[in-house]
């Protein structure tokens, strides 16, 4: 199937307790596309970079079967840049710099070749841009998934609520779910949020795993316990990319298949945090991914022959 990804392609500079990078490649769209590229889909991407973005990285995306017709390259402008520093526990971070640059007036254009994309993953961007993409597609994709963040809840809640009415799967973290719903309990939050539009809600809890809610059903997948989390940047986007890459390649939106998609996303995210930025995602093979998924099966699988002894 074909998967259309919308999201930033950007530069990041990251500090963690383990070290510090110069400008490296980042952005939600990059992580989503890289993760999704482990699955056999036609991949399309709608995004924007400045003239400072390295052609070499674009070639790497093309090599992974990502069609870049929808990636605008703005001459005379600079690529979006984010810089952040993680605290010792890796669960919180300070933003040191955000330079919107090309993203400030991003007007997403959908190339003709992208019309009819079967699946759509809207990475974290302004809810207005996310909505524009949906409106500019001549046919509604089979499943529309979307990420967002607290920033948009603070400054564009009405816009966000409009966009939520149009999508199927919302993928956010626990703090964002609490802010969006006004509920502390994630079970209660999941009901409030699904009343806003999305029939499916995935709440990412970082090192504590992820929850999928649909109707009266719940599914939980843990994160793989790791010796060391080196750099959490992009883990959530990688999760989303693995999730939608798997859904698109299997062309199956059943709840049972979404469980498998979540395990795939979790496995890819567990690689992402092992090195800075996209490094680890660029180096793993399909076999590495299969082995990691087998670790998830071993981690969570139990046989309940005898319920009560």
């Amino acid at each position: 199937m074909s998967l259309l990804t919308v999201g930033s392609v950007a530069f990041d500079a990251i500090e963690t307790p383990f070290g510090k990078t110069d400008k490296i490649i980042g952005g939600a769209g990059t992580y989503i596309a890289l993760a999704a590229s482990f699955y056999k889909n036609q991949q399309n991407i709608v995004s924007v970079v400045g003239e400072d973005f390295p052609e070499e990285m674009l070639q790497q995306l093309r090599n992974r079967n990502v069609n870049l017709d929808g990636l605008q390259i703005k001459q005379g402008e600079k690529t979006f840049f984010w810089s952040g520093r993680y605290h010792n526990d890796m669960n919180s971070r300070d933003t040191l710099a955000t330079e919107l640059n090309v993203l400030e007036y991003f007007d997403p254009t959908i190339p003709d070749a992208y019309q009819g994309s079967d699946y759509l993953m809207l990475g974290n961007l302004s809810p207005q841009v996310q909505r524009q993409v949906i409106e500019r597609l001549s046919e509604r994709p089979k499943l529309i998934a979307m990420d967002t963040m607290n920033f948009w809840m603070d400054i564009a809640m009405d816009d966000l609520k409009e966009t939520l009415k149009l999508i199927d799967v919302l993928i956010i973290n626990d703090e964002e779910a609490r802010q969006l719903s006004g509920e502390y309990s994630l079970v209660k939050a999941s009901k409030v949020i699904r009343d806003m539009g999305p029939k499916y809600l995935i709440i990412k809890k970082g090192e504590h795993g992820a929850l999928l809610f649909h109707g009266e059903k719940m599914f939980f997948a843990p994160a793989l316990p790791l010796e060391e989390v080196f750099d959490p940047t992009g883990a959530g986007d990688t999760f989303a990319g693995g999730f939608m890459g798997f859904i698109a390649s299997t062309d199956d939106t059943s709840f049972d298949n979404m469980k498998r998609a979540i395990i795939n996303g979790s496995a890819l995210a567990s690689f992402c945090v092992e090195e800075f930025g996209t490094e680890r995602l660029m180096s793993i093979t399909e076999k590495d991914l299969e082995e990691r998924i087998a670790e998830f099966v071993a981690l969570t699988n139990f046989e309940m022959e005898q319920v009560i002894g």
Copy 2:
């Protein structure tokens, strides 16, 4: 089989955002014995109360097949009392009062009828008392599990380390595992702690579930996502009681059976937090427990036919 539980039988007074109790029945030994009583074992308990402890509650334990020969009743003395207040997020609490009373000079005695107990669960008590119990058993039980807390790490680390050499399964929470090991990563912590003696380590993460470590194996069980956590008091002890009750009744200490035991413990703990103190544990039936376990299966179960799409 027979299960010997050692732990406090006590009074608690609890404040949560939902309300406040007078003195109610609590104590690690009480929660462990109540949870374990869902399984078909001979239950023995070593503990101590004052003359102020209600005979009615003792009768309820007897009704649940708990032999109280090892429960000392100290005339002229008062039962251990703890009082605490939970914060809004229910993850942290302040201790308002701790009155050791009969626990201050507790000298555990093992009735003859308890000798030969097949399984031993050492609830949170001074590591010296925990060790005394092990030393006073004529035969080593098939499996010795133990709980402890940061308090003993602060004031009796050497004693604690001596006791850890004698046990099989240590059951502690994530913060305690970090303090005991000096490692932030739970995977690293699990190695350091298992080098201290216990071959099995269970790390409880509260609402984020529990991890079991043994050799190179890991198993993760989530906590059931709940609409409301009413009172977390005793949830960890209930988990331990369900775990050891199941292990003893199945008389199977394999890793696969420990997984099932953890699911049983998690299911019982998920009931415990639904009302104040022991109320909910006293009201549920075996059928309730079976249904709750089925919810855990539904929450975590996935079939990975197709690994990568």
